[in-house]
């Protein structure tokens, strides 16, 4: 494919993104940096159509990019531009006071900022940190035969569960439980805390087993929660004010946002673009641009934008790259400094 065809393809996609109308040969030929006639453009477009980059809604209409066409266009872009300093400053300002923020807050303000400038929905999948460790287990009596088990992890997550027992616990029982936890659970990695492991621990409790097993059941449920990845979505409203998207599909998406995790946690590098209805992603005519962020040397999660397929990729891709970069730095630094203020009661956090 020669340079002119590439240029024409780019121009078609660009124009289509701007206008939403199928693009004709005449329009392209009139562009300042296209120096050939409409007829020539027509010939090239016919070839681009054969190659699968463009298509016609009907015989006498202009051309519209295919998925493949968009992909090619995006690839051309992504090598490109660094963000100009003034935009960078603007983004920094939107991110707010970066210091002293916790990981959750950093992610929240990043998604909020991104949603606002792109006028799209933004999504973050924050992987359950693999190195997180249980730092504290506590047991608090709160009523007749009701006890609250409290679980705190090294990355600042706090979980609690109330458990009803068959008998009230003696001080000896309480003592045993606390010691047992200190010896066996505290210091253990959350990812090790499988159901089998808990089963084993219950067995190891000996005569206390029967009385205390509901507590262990509670711990089991909490550890399952802790191992789930978190998914935030913000700016869903923006999808509804976009008339290229089917409202019913958007609604379905919002109600099943969890389904995204598969797409987001997929292994990939750099920028990934997913188009609606091309794969598992349910909103037709939409696209999702995702990039990963790191904590130290590990992938810690991914940040993405969801909007119509006609999206200003040229602007948005650098934004996302800048944000994920920035997040990587912030959370890596932050991890060195101090534990995190818990946010596990925020209703926007789903898993």
């Amino acid at each position: 494919m020669d340079a002119r065809k590439r240029k024409i393809l780019s121009a078609v996609v660009d124009m289509y993104i701007r206008t939403g109308e199928p693009v004709g040969s005449k329009t392209i030929s009139q562009l300042p940096d296209i120096h050939v006639s409409a007829a020539t453009v027509r010939n090239d477009m016919a070839v681009l159509e054969e190659l699968g980059y463009l298509e016609q809604p009907h015989t006498s209409a202009g051309r519209v990019p295919t998925f493949q066409g968009y992909r090619m266009y995006i690839e051309e872009l992504s090598g490109g531009s660094e963000l100009p300093p003034e935009e960078r400053a603007q983004l920094d300002e939107m991110l707010g006071d970066e210091k002293n923020l916790t990981e959750d807050l950093i992610l929240q303000s990043a998604t909020a900022a991104l949603a606002q400038i792109t006028q799209c929905a933004t999504v973050v999948s924050n992987l359950a940190p693999k190195y997180s460790v249980i730092t504290k287990v506590d047991l608090i009596p709160t009523g007749k035969r009701v006890y609250v088990v409290l679980l705190i992890t090294s990355d600042g997550k706090i979980k609690n569960r109330a458990c009803r027992l068959q008998f009230d616990l003696t001080p000896e029982h309480m003592e045993f439980f606390k010691n047992f936890m200190e010896e066996n659970l505290e210091g253990m990695s959350v990812s090790e805390l499988s159901e089998e492991r808990i089963e084993q621990l219950v067995m190891a409790m000996g005569t206390y087993m029967i009385t205390l097993s509901p507590l262990m059941q509670g711990i089991c449920e909490m550890s399952r929660d802790l191992q789930k990845n978190e998914l935030y979505v913000t700016g869903e409203q923006n999808l509804f004010s976009c008339d290229e998207l089917d409202k019913a599909e958007v609604a379905k998406f919002i109600l099943h946002k969890q389904d995204l995790s598969g797409l987001l946690d997929d292994s990939f590098q750099g920028i990934k673009v997913v188009f609606g209805k091309e794969g598992d992603f349910v909103i037709g005519n939409s696209s999702m641009i995702v990039s990963k962020y790191q904590k130290g040397d590990h992938t810690a999660g991914s940040l993405g934008v969801i909007g119509p397929m006609r999206l200003n990729y040229a602007k948005i891709i650098p934004y996302i790259e800048y944000f994920t970069d920035k997040i990587s730095h912030l959370i890596t630094d932050e991890a060195d400094v101090s534990p995190v203020i818990g946010m596990n009661e925020d209703p926007n956090v789903e898993s």
Copy 2:
């Protein structure tokens, strides 16, 4: 307004609910219990239109009920039918094993069941219990200068917040805090726990004030959470499969469901019906039917159904009445028996 007009109005609303088409005089005159000609029906309909119960989309179309028309129709109904035993049995079964359930679970299964049989969205506003008391405050060190404050209430709610202090606490500080809480906070009603009250307590701490005030700040935030009413919404999908409702409005509603609390907590008795766009309720062409449930002698919350205005009121109203009655009994009984298993980490709970 004579009996025949009343009957005709009822018939028109009924027919309109079934078909969704404007109803003509001929259709009505052919109904089995209408024994007058179409011309007579026409005359009556003209009167009903003058009275504001019916309207015409255009001159040569049939009649459609107005808000007032619906209201009249619903009023006629609500005196009516007890639920037949077989339906009652069916509802009971859907509610599942009623014993041993907590308040939250009762409400959840009721909304789920109601959403399923009505194919509508259901909504529950559970008022923050006014008599709820703080039973326990605990303080747990979890990291360098980081402490978790735990708050447990008599109705089984558990809240926690991590607070970062300026210094690490000495055992003496810890001791003081726990004692102070035991003396001043435990036993106090949640509703008394205003910001001013907390302010006063901070003042009363004397020399410990500066060090411990971030903890009190945390308590303040948690008490604010505890005083919020809870709002569950279920079955939102159903609204999207209903083509009389504007999807964009439904979406807006879902994203701002909190706005409902005003409508739900309003004081009223028996059944209340709100029509979309008539007042503050945003979904055009929709209606919401609400009824209150009691805990002992106090209103504890309300349960409602949201669907298209063309709703089978004759069926749904008795359902709602039955459910709220049942819920009232269950939660009143349950309160006597045992404290509640906490559910405050459920992501569906909003406030």
